[in-house]
Symmetry: C2
Subunit: 583 residues, 2 copies
């Protein structure tokens, strides 16, 4: 009953190659989170189109490793694969590493593609395979190419445009100066920047090459004096970026470094591919592992960025609020909608609000589909019944090129539709968790896993939890790390980072609730030893889903504040009220 012919062909090729397994990762060579569907051999061969999930294919079997949010989707889309769901905080990578160590026999050969594996992970793989006498062969690309050739990258005319200083706050020259300091302090001659949002941030440019992103294909070698930028031949940089930038062909970038007499180049082993390392070493350049010097500079937003991001978030708040109103009006008129119709409305409303692009594929999940954490396949056949919960998780880019991201769960149906006690309880629990995050005050030095615990606590108290992180940084990409607010995240939460707080509850075949807001962090105005969370999104909650008897006065105060900020015209919101000590 093998209906997947491409998979069958790949299995055949692995067998003919006398190999025993092939690692097929979801990433592309840019480690883009949103690899275009048509560019992804993993999506093509597995039929699973979720954003994250790695496959292992042997001559006999196929395995797909996904996390909790994709469990149901993977099962539905990839019936020819054994689905491994990573639970208990085990990463997808560790999951297939464990699987390999338990299932590959000594003497086996494993094929992999060094352009889709970072140095740190490749080292881990080597460490695992060596004592087990498993041979690692970097030739997977050729086999995959026999079956799958990606079409040209973008159907639109490739474009790169500049974002003005009123938004970015800092010029490229100013940013380069900060990066240069960090490069010098590491005693390297240059740093190889591979993350597309890092390069977009440094150059104050955006592009339209990839779906759901505003970045452009590139690779950059940053020295303290210059940026040597590799671009594909079809791309041109805007003029006058006000810094010393040398543009070369992307595929020639590493070779071109011979002109710069670089002895040592820093690479972040958790971000740079093994392929880059191999290419640099082949040039006789010494590699030094170091932390990405751009990461924290990019994560900490300056005042202009914050103001701009807030204005973009506000537009998105109104789009989502209006979409809800349109949906409610339709049900009021006794015209139920399908998920696809709601998907159409939100896309149209984003376009009407002058968004340039969505920041990810909208999640439009009615009733039981709300349990699929990253539901990506809206149903056009069925109308979602009045009285159902609807989970809408969407975001967009406006002129300025920072992503928005917001989730609201609301009740479908005319105004007087009553929520069930279960709906109300689940929603209110998630709301309480959200408020914990959005109103938090904590000591400087607080870590992601500590804020994560504060947010989950009201759910744990009820014996509930969610199988995903609590929050992620937001910037040029909708998922930007650091910070990461998750059970194992040791990343420190710093002033002016922007991130999501998105607790949820999911019940398979029943439904789901998620509430996602974006926030930043500021110094407590009265108590400088403390930091405070400052909410940046205020799209109203569906009051029919709030059980007031489950709230305490502090939470009621917060909801009043939230409504006030929604109605406020101020460019930046105020801090939520805290019931400070009386005496």
């Amino acid at each position: 009953m093998d209906t997947n012919l491409e998979l069958k062909a790949l299995k055949e090729l692995i067998k003919n190659h006398k190999a025993h397994a092939l690692l097929l990762r979801s990433t592309d060579k840019y480690f883009n989170e949103y690899v275009p569907q048509d560019q992804s051999p993993r999506a093509y061969i597995s039929r699973f189109n979720g954003s994250v999930g790695d496959a292992l294919i042997t001559p006999e079997h196929a395995y797909l490793f996904v996390d909790g949010r994709y469990e149901l989707q993977a099962q539905a889309q990839a019936p020819d694969f054994n689905i491994h769901v990573c639970k208990n905080n085990i990463s997808i990578e560790n999951s297939w590493l464990n699987f390999l160590s338990e299932n590959l026999k000594p003497g086996s050969t494993l094929l992999y593609d060094p352009s889709t594996i970072d140095m740190a992970l490749e080292e881990k793989l080597q460490h695992l395979c060596e004592p087990l006498h498993i041979k690692l062969v970097p030739e997977a690309k050729n086999l995959i190419h026999t079956i799958f050739k990606a079409p040209p990258l973008s159907s639109t005319i490739p474009e790169i445009w500049q974002v003005g200083p009123e938004i970015t706050g800092l010029s490229t020259a100013e940013k380069l100066e900060k990066v240069a300091q960090k490069i010098k302090s590491q005693n390297v001659d240059a740093f190889l920047a591979v993350k597309l949002d890092d390069i977009a941030w440094l150059l104050n440019c955006r592009g339209n090459a990839f779906p759901f992103q505003q970045t452009f294909p590139s690779l950059a070698c940053i020295t303290p004096e210059a940026i040597i930028l590799g671009l594909p031949s079809s791309y041109k940089l805007p003029k006058d970026l006000g810094a010393n930038i040398k543009v070369v062909q992307e595929y020639e970038l590493i070779q071109s470094l011979s002109n710069y007499k670089l002895r040592t180049v820093g690479l972040d082993p958790t971000e740079s591919s093994k392929e880059h390392e191999i290419a640099l070493r082949a040039m006789g350049i010494e590699i030094k592992s170091m932390g990405n010097p751009l990461a924290l500079l990019k994560a900490i937003k300056n005042d202009q960025e914050l103001l701009h991001m807030r204005s973009a978030f506000k537009k998105a708040d109104h789009v989502i609020h209006k979409t809800q109103n349109l949906i409610h009006a339709s049900y009021e008129a006794d015209q139920p909608l399908s998920e696809t119709e709601i998907d159409d409305i939100i896309r149209r409303e984003f376009t009407n609000s002058k968004a340039c692009e969505l920041s990810f594929r909208p999640i439009c999940a009615g009733a039981k589909n709300g349990a699929i954490i990253h539901y990506g396949t809206p149903n056009s056949e069925q109308k979602v019944k009045a009285g159902s919960l609807f989970l809408l998780d969407t975001g967009a880019y406006y002129q300025g090129g920072y992503a928005t991201d917001l989730t609201r769960t609301f009740l479908l149906g005319p105004k007087n539709t009553l929520s069930t006690p279960w709906q109300k309880e689940m929603f209110t629990l998630v709301l309480k968790a959200s408020i914990k995050g959005m109103s938090a005050r904590f000591r400087r030095g607080f870590l992601g896993l500590q804020l994560d615990a504060l947010v989950r606590e009201p759910l744990w108290r009820a014996g509930l939890d969610y199988a995903h992180g609590t929050g992620h940084g937001v910037g040029i990409n909708v998922h930007e790390f650091p910070p990461r607010i998750a059970p194992t995240s040791l990343s420190e939460i710093l002033e002016h980072q922007v991130f999501s707080i998105e607790p949820g509850l999911y019940f398979e075949n029943v439904g789901g609730v998620r509430i996602e807001n974006l926030v930043t962090v500021v110094a407590d105005p009265k108590l400088p030893q403390f930091l405070r969370v400052l909410p940046l999104t205020f799209c109203p909650f569906d009051e029919r889903l709030i059980d007031d008897t489950m709230l305490d006065n502090f939470e009621r105060d917060f909801l009043n504040y939230f409504q006030e900020q929604w109605l406020s015209d101020a460019p930046m919101p105020q801090l939520p009220p805290l019931r400070d000590r009386k005496f």
Copy 2:
């Protein structure tokens, strides 16, 4: 105005020795937390008698490094020393390391005692001093000896006695088997156990050598088959411990290892002194750094241990409750008490309850002295006024040899004494934080710094915090690590660990509140993916200090539960109520 003649003499000796500084640590060679006053050169020379604090002495100056809890006490007791208070989670050790690097000139000589510095810290010191061209000379002991000679260890007859299997749950042979597995898995021939409570745990023995401890001076080399135990000549082991134990003179232990053909011995570099390392190497034995294989075995209490500890905690609960009643009766009769008189009552009541020994020097702090976190010098001159807060932090050992530890803060005065609004608010805030900890449910894998954040959150919300950890393990010693519940603690919280939850608030020259309870952790009976905190102490709170309007229903439920458990005769308490989901 140098009134401290011993300090003056030591400065002179350092100068004559052509050295530039001498490190004088608070630990003894056993790294005992409670070094007997009369055994501590640091206490003798500085006059500061707090349990933790290291000194640096130069020919001209003297510096004392303490943490927040000892700030005021150090200032009062050691006027000839510059007091450095370690704040912002910087340890005492890092504090003097920083000080050294900033103040010692290249070419300087620093004297230290290798028996009072662990290998890891010594390595850190070496790493710091080498590039700065500071010479490290391990001869501090001789200089100190010129000024200070410790009297014989104990005034009582040295004794070691056995604790029965109905308390320990496991025989020494069974424990050795578990330790042996861990030793073998590290590919070493033996482990050198240096912590006295580890040795007491393994041998199921207790002793009376040290104040506030039930351990005995010893050093043990554990092989998978035998325990080679070094004891001072005046000590004898009880017979028939049911395992292969070879007793030698403590000072000869390392030399005696030549009889055992040990090639490699494991040491925990964070616990073993540099002196042990030097001695082992001198014997031609290879050293392997490893984690202490006894630590986690000892931290996770078995059912018998838990039952016994609970029974000891219950006795202490009643002692402290009765002490409060006696104090109240005295104020009722218009006879105010001094701190010393209250100290006398608590000591007498512990003796009446058949306690063998206190587990630490009681903290009897009235009114503003409550702000001194580990107040150790009760005032006999002044009666504490009615209407004052009193902070009583005490513990003891009963037959069985596990420590108890409890803190109550209560109002002094006749029954009808009214608390001030400030007292009530501070107490209720600390109570709310305590309840957070004592009622917590969390995912397996939860870390100390996450529970720490949950407990502090109600205080942070009010803009308040405390400058000490939230909790410490409790066992044979009153402070046992792991677990550690503190802002930087990555130690995982595991089933059947026993630890304290002790939030507090301190206001210099005004007063302090601390509430300390002991708890354990059990699997959630209904939801095995969760762990739950199970309180083990139930000494009632002073109701005059509770502001009911600040509590939510959950907290009220908890206080009712707490009172029920206080009145219950069950050998083990029940779990606190959680308002589980309704639907």
